[in-house]
Symmetry: C2
Subunit: 573 residues, 2 copies
Amino acid sequence: MAEPSSTTQELPERPKGEEEGEKGEGEKGPSKGALKKAAKEKEKAEKAAKRKAEEAAQKAASEASDVSKADYGDLPMIGSHPYVPNADSATRIQLASLAQEEGDISGKEVTFRAIVENARNQAAKLSFVVFRQGISTIQGVVAASETLSRQMVKFAGGIPAESVVLVHAVVEKPKEAVKSTTIQHLEVHVKQLFVIAKADAQLPMQVEDAERPLPGEGEEQTENEGRPIVTLNTRLNNRVIDLRGKHNHAIFTIKDGVTLLFQEFLRTRGFLNTNTPCLLGAPSEGGANVFEVTYFASRAFLAQSPQLYKQMLIAARFERVMEVGPIFRAENSNTARHLTEFTGLDLEMAFEEDYHEVVSLLEELMLYIFTGLRERYKLETDLVRSIYHVEDFKLPAAGSVPRLTFPEGIAMLRADGVEIGDFDDLSTPDEKHLGRLVLEKYGSDFYVLDQYPLAIRPFYTMPSSATQAAYNPSSPNAGYSNSYDFFMRGQEIMSGAQRIHDAGFLEKRMREHVTPVDPNSDGLRDYVNAFRYGCPPHAGGGIGLERIVMLWLGLPNVRLASLFPRDPGRLVP
Amino acid sequence: MAEPSSTTQELPERPKGEEEGEKGEGEKGPSKGALKKAAKEKEKAEKAAKRKAEEAAQKAASEASDVSKADYGDLPMIGSHPYVPNADSATRIQLASLAQEEGDISGKEVTFRAIVENARNQAAKLSFVVFRQGISTIQGVVAASETLSRQMVKFAGGIPAESVVLVHAVVEKPKEAVKSTTIQHLEVHVKQLFVIAKADAQLPMQVEDAERPLPGEGEEQTENEGRPIVTLNTRLNNRVIDLRGKHNHAIFTIKDGVTLLFQEFLRTRGFLNTNTPCLLGAPSEGGANVFEVTYFASRAFLAQSPQLYKQMLIAARFERVMEVGPIFRAENSNTARHLTEFTGLDLEMAFEEDYHEVVSLLEELMLYIFTGLRERYKLETDLVRSIYHVEDFKLPAAGSVPRLTFPEGIAMLRADGVEIGDFDDLSTPDEKHLGRLVLEKYGSDFYVLDQYPLAIRPFYTMPSSATQAAYNPSSPNAGYSNSYDFFMRGQEIMSGAQRIHDAGFLEKRMREHVTPVDPNSDGLRDYVNAFRYGCPPHAGGGIGLERIVMLWLGLPNVRLASLFPRDPGRLVP
């Protein structure tokens, strides 16, 4: 077993300023000034060497007299050899579990890996170190004694915040509850303390600065309780530090939760999880907003959704399919609601008689997700909402999700003074307005708008008055379609529809659409053909994962719900 | 409620040949030949019109006398209105459940949606239709009676295979077990039969042709039991029909199963599911084999793995992360084992003392997946293996996955006559050879090769003799690294390693690597910086989902494990 080294690792430091200062001088030979300067440098170097030698001697002496020599220091790079006695990995504890142990556990010896939240020398004989694991923190006491040297106390107090350490300690009850840590009824008295990975002394931003809210859309804010607001840009530029914030761990735990609940519910309903391609041979959904890829000697395009593929899977007799995967949109929108890459939760299913069978299942799905978040992720939700103050998300009474038709929605807006045509698309302010009206009337932050105008939906959308091979333009529902959007807090989170499952009718609609597409084009031929082979009626939808997270938590920007967000101006980190 | 139409939907037919034949003739006026031809055409058209009129009259007469008029025909396009009495969607049954009902259920009336596997007129008064749902098939009898017309019998026998139909029928016991269907002890006597979506009479390939095996690598085969072998290319060109094969449903159910088991196991071990970006600002892993994307006025690159991002998440204090997502490799390899887009199952975790903690967890994970497949997906596995005859996958005894060091592997190969250097990379034949030797010696198709030579692994791999800031070239394990590959049937399915968690050492290794990379380049700066902020020792791995499926089932080509495979020559469908 190797001995831990008690010297701290020195990162190579750049000489400050001097090197740059010399450049460009003395083009033909050293000037007088330069000679003088060189002499000065020499003297300086000699002094530094002397100082270094003295320090080394002092250190050696100090080490010789250090009773704790083997109990602290920087560990060699950990690989496949344990270095520290009493620190067997199998017995290492979690602070969260320790906090929940019952009875008096004073005197218990524990070993754990943790982050140093902060460390300070209180006096020559006493240092305090706050240790963190996840969202738990505990106070560590390093006090000089017969078996613990002042050198070790000094070392402990000097560990840079955010370093990773290995701690061997005795659990004690503090005289009074510790106020600055999450575990307040316990502290640990350190016996051994090793640095596993040292953080730079100067970080580009502080984790605690990341834990303050960003200003909301339209709001301006430059400081908060006397501390500077770190801008979103700075946070995203230093995303690794930013993500260390407790609220960020909560956000991404919730995001994982949404995916889990989505898959969990749909599996019980017989959905198969699938993986369809992102690389396409031709743009498939009209050609706008699509990223182009150099593909060997040719080119490819990034899928804007798994739409055509999940439908082809229905034609391939997979009755119910779902997919969780990246969605790419080459939309040059720099808003708080748009990303160029996000996660899509997609599903498609065959139905029997009426596409509302699918709408009902989708409503159930969303209620399952919301209820699951409420029950299983309360701690995380509360933690985020303690920063981003937002109203609790109001769910409808069970089984009664407000489901309005588009004309009903228009009527509500008109009754409230909005001027809007029967078949106009809803603007973002219109949507938010309608969301408020629905909340007032039905007490729900979640609702469905059904039967959108046909003209504002994609070519594959089933007209609502369709019959075998045509649709009846004189029907009372002419101009509408079997399509729907789902809303949270007045913002769209899912768009879906019944799709046309008849090849001949699909071709007709492709040609007649507001933005016509060619059924014989490379990107669409196979898709159209799929419906010549017999395909059941089907409907589905696509949910933006980041939007659900944003709207559930009331985050001011969708970027906060993406680990490493992508927008027209950001591709790093 | 709309009445079902009893006329079949006529797809527009192209006139055969004639139109093309006329083009290019008679540039200045019709020639004699053309006039003659026109007269002939006229006569032909008149005849056709007469025939049509006669047929219509016949049909009308037939319909008038048709007692079953309301019980069969083509349904209007289904949208949001039920068309058929007795066919309430809530009471529709699944054939698989019907087959399992106990006791005598003769006389039970059932309604179901199904596919027509085939239909034939046995006699004027009798047709047989085989109905399919998923992997279940049942025989349908359509027999003329006082309440069922001959017209309906004829209609039923003429439904093109692969059409989607709605059936209302009475369950009966057949006189003898039906041999050609999966449900042999029951048949259904049809009372109503409607076509929901008609398939083209001529399909580009037959589903049953898709259900025969492809020749394996190197094998040649042009027919099988007298039937033609449909080539892989034809199958993939018509993937929607190909995927209808029962074995394909089984393959993708198993693929879903692997993902489910992967996530299920890792969630119990505290892993968080994450989504990291596919769009990168710069190539990150050396720059080779990366797809370039036009990104607004600039460019982006498709991630070759979530490697750098999952490590940054470890630095961001997410202790254990996993990701399921697409992986893009611009490798111009046209082999049976390579795809340009596939699904990666990735994970990364911090460890305490020894990276073998991670290797052990990965072994447990793989055993969990294999055992889960065996227990939960036996039906599907057997179904696929009944086509692709392959030996059962041999698992090691619990807790004893063979784990060899690279030198041990080399020694085994040499003992068996292979000439190979100590630090040579294993070729594909070497890997397969070693797989056979391990199977002989340890009785396992699954094993781990540990401690690969450093020079053949990526720059971020931890050398095995690394200490605090350097690694010792005179150490006995110099030249090796803390890295490992996992194998199934002698083929690699996962590659992983301990990663360097110290920024200074990482920079050094980047510069010294066989293919050096610049730590200050756009694609790597943020990654390297992440380790300046204090990052615990960590290791992980990436698994190719399609490879696991291929090797578990013994498929001859990895494309068969991808719904819509992508290779250098294929981007459609």
